[in-house]
Amino acid sequence: MTLTVFCATVHAQWVKVPAARTPLGADGKPNLAAPAPRLPDGKPDLSGIWEPISPKYLRDLAADLKPGEVPYQPWAKALVDSRADGSHAREESDANCLPQGIPKIAAAPAPWKIIQLPGNVVILHEAFNLWRQVFLDGRQFAEDLNPSWLGYSIGKWDGDTLVVDSRGFNGKTWLDQAGKPTTEALHVTERYRRKNFGTLEIQITIDDPKAYTKPWTVTEEVRLVLNTDLLEFICNENNRDLAHLPGSSLQ
């Protein structure tokens, strides 16, 4: 069913699309449990189009943690509690067609595409036509980064895991729809591991000492999407929802 839908997808926008470089099982169908592909340098190739498997991490990044395990600073806990009933939904960046922030963008709607190049990994997000660059050329962060929605990212390999450090955030994004706040002190570490051809695991550590008393870590998985490609998504084209959401306008 899924394949049928996605085949239709490609043909709906393009014709004569070459078959993807996908391992096939004995039955001739894509074998998503096959080993992760590798590049000539021996590193896993994370390239592909990925999408969240479930909306649970969009709703609650700490969905897999026990209640009370998110180490909130008191003000952050009070803020999250005030947002729990949805009464501030209009104040979430995404609802305003502004970027989702890291790590929410990976759990948010619409697929995203990793392009792995020597010295640089590019992540294209269909959602709102956004992009990230992860530099693997040894550069370091500047002292005084301009505040940004998706941060600045540098990466390195730890065995078969790509470790991405991101800083330089503007503190305006929520970690999830539950409203876990961020500040400009946010530092996100993502550890990407392609478990098999069809599954990418992302271990995420939130280190934001102004909002959380200590770093905390969650792990989510995304799945490979076959036979489709990214499409334009200009969020502010016709955002009628905002007027129906409770809360204040963004300052």
Binding site: S54, P55, R59, G86, A89, A110, C235
Partner: protein, 136 residues
């Protein structure tokens, strides 16, 4: 309104089953819609906005008792998400009569988030693509 809703329920009957491929919204679904308030509507399509971040279409729903016509706004997923479910922007046209199952907006406006759409003329079920997730 209630009459129209009852009629639409009969028209849809048991032949309709949910094709529940939930799509995610770019905002909190539960803040905008009340998942405990499903609604069934039948009406003629007056406008289709095949636009981001979510498709909206509008139908005129007639109250059989009073004759009063109310225009409802109905929200679906994004154009890309709907396209991946097999929709095209020509799947539903102005003046088509549709049976809709949806979830009511919390703010009391004539707005609902679509779960299923059936073309009344031939019973063809257009895939829904609600922006509600699996576990509201």
């Amino acid at each position: 309104m209630e009459v129209a809703m009852r009629q639409s329920f009969r028209a849809m009957g048991f032949a309709l089953f949910f094709f529940a491929i939930p799509l995610l919204a770019h905002h909190s679904f539960s803040a905008q819609y009340d998942s405990t308030k499903p609604i069934k509507l039948t009406g003629k399509v007056t406008k289709v906005e095949w636009t981001n971040p979510h498709i909206y279409f509008y139908i005129d729903v007639k109250d059989e008792k009073t004759g009063k016509v109310t225009n409802w706004a109905l929200e679906m997923g994004s154009p890309n998400a709907l396209m991946r479910l097999g929709w095209s922007r020509n799947s539903m046209k102005i003046d088509d009569v549709v049976n809709v199952e949806a979830t009511l907006a919390k703010d009391g406006s004539n707005l609902a988030n679509v779960r299923t759409v059936v073309l009344a003329s031939n019973g063809k079920r257009l895939l829904a693509g609600s922006s509600e997730g699996t576990n509201p």
